[in-house]
């Protein structure tokens, strides 16, 4: 976890993303990143692996592209483990109804 947090700080992830909604708004919130439908369809170890690979070689997603921050394998794995841990923290329901779109 220590290493994961250090990765997040060293790459200033909070200056594009948000954590518990705090940060910058240029990239998605990462509070429940581990549970996002995009990656939740994969089982645990495969999910971790795919997320780590994404961090090492980011893809362009729609109009927004994540830069390559030269994250090494061990750093990526630590960051993913950190995000997994963070997704379990009780944030009093934030973000509301995560992953469940509702009618307007």
């Amino acid at each position: 976890m220590d290493k994961g947090k250090l990765v997040i700080q060293s790459r200033a992830c909070i200056d594009c993303h948000t954590f518990f909604g705090n940060g910058a708004y240029y990239a998605p919130d990462l509070t429940r990143d581990w549970l996002d439908p995009v990656c939740a369809r994969y089982a645990g170890p495969k999910r971790a692996d795919r997320l780590a690979k994404f961090l090492m070689e980011p893809l362009r997603l729609g109009a927004r592209a994540m830069p390559n921050l030269h994250i090494q394998r061990d750093e990526a794995e630590a960051a993913v483990a950190y995000l997994k841990w963070m997704s379990a923290i009780d944030t009093n329901g934030f973000p509301d109804r995560f992953g469940a779109p509702t009618a307007q």
Binding site: V7, Q9, C13, C16, T18, N22, Y26, R60, R64, P101
Partner: protein
């Protein structure tokens, strides 16, 4: 002029330069939203944004420090103690800022190790500057506090404004120590980080700008010290009474207990009340003088401070402060809308008012007026209104579609970024950013030129601080 006032002018100059740097990197940050892939892997959004928001903190801090160095010797009618060291540290501060900015531009980030934390980027919002620079800021701020306190002690007397300022400087400095820790738990990290950020901008900085505005009123329009100080005490009590526990509005979603909903929601709902009081006071002061003042730019920027603070911090803040709304507005451009407007209204306008006041006195003028300042005033305020408005539209759109409807997923986020209102808002924000930048350019032109052709036709009358 006292040496301290010359130093104050240097700080105010450096503050103006940093203001410009903040604008440049702010414009740059806004381009990423409207030009997909802009400078990808060359100079990423995060790097531009870091310099933008850290530049904000530095330009305002330098403005505050410069203002205090300007006013203190007049307050105590003596030179500031330790001024030699303060003068040296000014250049050290500027050099450190330059080095930090250059590293953030050319190195940007490092590996996950302590070297990165100490020398490149700490990666915590507003306090990304590496630890060595944070140490430097502690030293500069410590000497600054020493200058103020030692001068007061050696003078053997104090004033109401100075006492409030000194009482405020100590927690302000102590809070900055949160720029150092590297806590593993994001909940704990943010818990303490908010002590620094909130208790700076919604508590200690409010008291600091209150003291600076008190001095400004005395020296700009000859306001009675008794009146100004009485008002200062009331405002400080109200601002701290609502602002300190208003910290709780940052504790809704970071993994802290639910009782923060009640504490944070209630106290932050009270925060606009003293701001309305400030508006009343501003209208009273302005109206009682028929909007006349010898230093018209300083006068109008002081007015703008009261109104901007109320609108940006009060109205825009109240809109999103209750937890039922904040659940959706949190982490969207809605926050950015409030943040831009509030910082400008609460602090930016005040620093510019002092700039004009200091220039009037340092150029030996008997008042200041002209055309350029009016255009600059209009463009800067129009620019910020436009940016805040554009970000509000984008933010409400985001809160509605991405969060409330979309369920806050990656796909909801990415879909939102492509929505027409969002894209149009980002373009509008950029355009109004250009308007703001034009206002800044005019401001600089005016600051360089104003008053130079005027010289006091009669011996300069100083608005003495009656007590």
């Amino acid at each position: 002029m006292y040496r301290s006032q010359r130093l104050g002018l240097k700080y105010l100059t450096a503050s103006t330069v940093m203001f410009g740097a903040m604008i440049v990197f702010g414009l740059l940050s806004s381009i990423y939203y409207i030009q997909p892939g802009f400078l990808l892997n060359i100079f990423n959004f995060s790097s531009a944004k870091i310099i933008h928001i850290d530049g904000l903190v530095i330009w305002l801090l330098m403005g505050f420090i410069g203002s205090v160095y300007w006013f203190v010797p007049q307050e105590l009618e003596r030179e500031v103690d330790g001024i030699g060291l303060a003068e040296l540290l000014f250049w050290v501060f500027c050099a450190a800022v330059a080095v930090v900015v250059l590293v953030l531009i050319f190195v940007q980030y490092g590996a996950a190790n302590q070297w990165s934390m100490w020398f490149i980027n700490q990666g915590r919002k507003y306090v990304e500057a590496p630890r060595w620079a944070a140490v430097g800021i502690v030293v500069v701020a410590g000497v600054f506090a020493y200058n103020v306190i030692a001068t007061t002690v050696k003078a053997g007397r104090t004033t109401g404004i100075l006492t409030v300022l000194i009482a405020d400087l100590i927690p302000l400095l102590v809070l900055y120590f949160d720029a150092f820790p590297q806590l593993t738990s994001m909940s704990q990290d943010l818990f303490w980080w908010w002590w620094l950020v909130h208790l700076w901008v919604e508590a200690t900085w409010e008291v600091l700008i209150g003291c600076i505005m008190a001095w400004t009123l005395i020296h700009m329009v000859g306001a009675s010290r008794r009146v100004v100080e009485s008002w200062l005490y009331v405002q400080v009590a109200l601002v701290l009474g609502t602002g300190i526990l208003g910290l709780g509005h940052h504790y809704f979603w970071i993994g802290t207990p639910r009782y923060w909903f009640a504490i944070g929601g209630v106290f932050s709902a009270f925060e606009p009340l003293p701001l309305l009081g400030m508006v009343v006071h501003a209208v009273y002061d302005a109206g009682s003088r028929h909007l006349q003042a010898a230093n018209r730019p300083a006068f109008f920027w002081t007015l703008a401070e009261a109104f901007g603070n109320f609108l940006g911090a009060g109205v825009f803040g109240f809109m999103m402060t209750l937890p039922q709304i904040n659940m959706y507005s949190h982490g969207t451009q809605w926050t950015a809308s409030h943040g831009h407007f509030a910082f400008w209204g609460a602090y930016g306008c005040g620093v510019i008012a002092v700039l004009y006041l200091a220039l009037e006195k340092s150029r030996g003028c008997n008042g200041l007026d002209g055309r350029a300042w009016k255009w600059s005033f209009a463009l800067l305020n129009l620019g910020i209104l436009g940016m805040a408005g554009a970000l509000l539209v984008a933010g409400i759109d985001q809160a509605f579609f991405e969060r409330a409807v979309g369920g806050s997923t990656w796909n909801a986020y990415l879909a939102m970024q492509g929505r027409p209102w969002f894209i149009e808002s980002m373009w509008a924000r950029f355009v109004f950013g250009l308007v703001f930048a034009a206002g800044y350019a005019l401001l600089v032109y005016d600051l360089l030129a104003i008053g130079k052709s005027q010289r006091a036709a009669v011996p300069q009358v100083t608005a003495a601080a009656g007590s």
